[in-house]
Symmetry: C2
Subunit: 318 residues, 2 copies
């Protein structure tokens, strides 16, 4: 089943305790597309880059069955983000944001994309998100992301998008900011009251939580001994989550559970290298193998005979 994503394609300059990269391939729609393409194809990308965008960037996307019909190449420079992570890899410090051609982004959804069944509105101006949502009138499952900037500057429009999609995906800081409450349960309920069927909260090193009006589920993050660059982890999560869902004929609770696990697994790979490097080389078998381990880290072993249990130490008197 095809998936449409609208978002940014960018060139990132990033410094972390593990190293740095300059003008490396990045952007929410890039990470999303590469992650989602592990699950389903084609991914239909609606975005804009400048005329300086390296052709190898386009080749990388095309190689992964990302349909670039909706990628506009504007006159000027590509969106650039310059950021830095300190020891706390959960939050980036933005050094500079050069919107360049992205400042005038007016997403045009090609006619042949209007029937795309699954649509993801990555973090862009909520007014543009609404416009894209109007254009994809054949969509059967829609989801959105946003960021602190839009929550602060265009809260009402963000609310309008939340009312209009099936799934709202946010990180916990954004959820707290939007709701004005620190308690995630109360915060998620506020958003669910607007109408979406699920709220997916990305919690970085703590994994994710999924809230529906009557259910709740938590997936832990895959434990990494070294996080080299968390940039794009949230968008990779979203790509795997939506890609996994697109493989299911119905949005069901078990499909959501599976999607959340896949999201956490692919996000963990994204953190292992700078830019899209690891997501790019990632094979589905590697995802499944790590998924099996993440399940073992969170699923209780079935009751078994004592002799089959993993005994660490005797406690009872001998």
């Amino acid at each position: 089943m095809s998936v449409l994503v609208v978002g940014s394609v960018a060139l990132d300059t990033v410094e972390t305790p593990a190293g740095q990269v300059t003008d490396a391939l990045g952007g929410s729609a890039t990470y999303f597309s590469l992650a989602a393409s592990l699950y389903t194809t084609p991914i239909r990308l609606v975005a804009v880059v400048g005329d300086d965008f390296p052709s190898h960037g386009l080749a990388i996307l095309r190689d992964r069955q990302v349909d670039l019909t909706g990628l506009e190449i504007g006159a000027g420079q590509t969106f650039r983000w310059i950021g830095r992570y300190g020891d706390d890899l959960n939050s980036a410090e933005t050094i500079a944001t050069h919107l360049n051609v992205f400042a005038r982004f007016d997403p045009k959804v090609p006619a042949e994309f209007r029937n795309t069944p699954v649509v993801f509105l990555a973090n862009i101006d909520p007014e543009l998100q609404l416009r894209v949502l109007d254009a994809v009138d054949g969509a059967r499952l829609t989801a959105m992301d946003t960021m602190n900037f839009w929550i602060a500057s265009k809260r009402d429009t963000v609310t309008e998008v939340m009312r209009s999609v099936d799934i709202v995906m946010l990180n916990e800081a954004e959820l707290r900011q939007y709701s004005g409450t620190r308690n995630l349960v109360a915060a998620a309920r506020q958003i669910l009251d607007l109408g979406p069927r699920a709220v997916v909260v990305k919690k970085g090193e703590y994994g994710c939580s999924v809230f529906t009006p009557d259910r709740y589920f938590v997936v832990p993050a895959y434990p990494l001994e070294e996080v080299r660059d968390p940039t794009g982890a949230g968008d990779s999560f979203a790509g795997a989550f939506m890609g996994s869902l697109a493989g299911s004929p119905v949005l069901s609770w078990s499909a959501i559970q599976r999607a959340a696990f896949h999201g956490c697994v692919v996000a963990s790979f994204a953190c292992e290298s700078f830019s899209v490097d690891r997501v790019l080389t990632l094979r589905r078998e590697e995802v499944e193998e790590r998924l099996g381990r993440l399940l073992s880290y969170s699923q209780v072993e079935p009751a078994r005979e004592e002799e089959q249990d993993h005994v660490i130490q005797n406690v009872a008197a001998t």
Copy 2:
């Protein structure tokens, strides 16, 4: 199987966004004892209070089969902690600590306690923890907690205790402080390298993680829409964890998984009211009922026929 705990019995004055209490029953050993007594009895308490300690506090403990033979009543005032929580209920601001009789605490383990099979060293001076450990030469399962103050002031002695116990239990801030690394996986490995069989990391609203040299497990926190007072949640976690383990003849991986779930469940009850109020009225059936729900929040539903799945929305073209 009996469990011995050494720690503080205190009178807490606490303010949170939900209210406040003055000179309410508190202390690590108090919360631990009440939580552990849900699982096993007797709990053998080694602690000190002042001669101002209210007799109803003693009655509460006795009612729960807490053996007070090791509770010294010293001349002077009981240990008092005065603290405040803001909107971030994960960390308390200490306004004042009056050690009073606790400053001269010299734990004496009654002769009949030396063979207690399960021993928990709650947060006290690590030199006293070592002394207690020496005294309980019949113990078959030992665990410790500590706090930022001791990690900063007596790190080598804390290390010595870690080398000497089976289970090290810490919150994530303490683990990061001790190890000097933000990454919990790397930090836990540092402690495991000292020799304990397991490191249990308490993560507040994110639940807990258990590390052994070759295994890893995560339990999410039970989601609460209102946290009235998180004081004692970590000690209640420890009490339920150790109490649950004490019910198992061997320290096995599945016993640890079960203990971690019980820890998170009882900790969630502790957060629902001030002081020990909720832990005190807590019945084992309530724990089991909430445990069932926490499992449903983290365990993947078994694969099932589509018609039995909880369908939220159709995605495929009709």
